[in-house]
């Protein structure tokens, strides 16, 4: 296999040496390659510093976001617990004072709707 490749390479080299046009073409391609390779690609002196500061900023941002989310969650928890406690207290008070947990008892309107005079007035006006 190696011998075959060597032979092939030798044959190509012979062919190349006999044709000036091909030699010129090879030089041309090599020059293009050389010019591409030679170009300066130097990074900025402060490159590492810039990247590290970007990473730190990103981490700080993450910390701020996480702490803001935690704050929001804590606030929501406090409001929800207070609200829940208030509702339960209202239900207990209503239950004791009105004797039932009927929705009308909460609005303290059960008396008005049950009065026949109110109903008849309402029907007449309708």
């Amino acid at each position: 296999m190696i011998n075959y490749q060597k032979k092939k390479q030798r044959r190509l080299n012979n062919y190349l040496s006999s044709l000036l046009e091909l030699q010129k073409e090879k030089r041309y391609l090599l020059k293009i390659r050389k010019l591409i390779i030679e170009k300066d690609y130097k990074p900025d002196n402060l490159f590492v510093k810039k990247v590290l500061s970007k990473i730190s900023a990103l981490e700080n941002e993450e910390i701020i976001t996480v702490s803001f989310n935690n704050l929001l969650y804590d606030l929501f928890k406090k409001v929800a617990i207070t609200g829940g406690a208030a509702i339960v207290l209202l239900m207990i008070i209503t239950c004791f004072s009105q004797g039932s947990l009927n929705p009308f008892s909460f609005l303290n309107t059960s008396g008005i709707f049950q009065e026949p005079d109110f109903l008849s007035c309402a029907l007449l006006n309708f």
Binding site: L35, K39, Y41, P43
Partner: protein
Amino acid sequence: MDTNEIELVKLAKAGNKLALASLILQHEEQVVKTITGMLGKCPEADDISQETFVRFYQSLDDFKCKSGVGTYITRIAINLSLNEIKKRKRNDKFFSINSDNNILQIPDTNLSQHLENDNLKEIVNKAVQFLEPKYRIVIVLKLIDGYSTKEISEILNIRKSSVLTRLSRAQEKLRNRLKFYKEGLL
């Protein structure tokens, strides 16, 4: 991947900034080469080079040390460069190359014979920028970064034969684009 690099990655994963800085120092030139080769010299190239390392840091937990850090970072750099190229296409805004478009199109052979090496470098690199991204990638990885065909096939996740085909077509396209400067190049 050498043991020193594995250690550095482990330390960086644990939050050691010095290890991270050391990894950045080792690969910054490679990344800048890749991105400048892909996008040309422009302000976005600096930003994307930095962004490459930020992304690398963010994906450190997913990095299993199966491939080298250089290969992994180059893959990120290539993906970010391709995103930038897509963004430019979407905005229908070509970078500085557009204003210098005529440099490559004036068939002034007399002029090309007297071009200095620096100018030729500039012209050749602008010609690289005109290649389609799939050809540009292989030229950048092979000639600028110096990766082997096998490594390029791993980075781009394509077959070795495809890498060679693309490389040959890219050279052909470059040759055609630079035909007016052939005398200057020889």
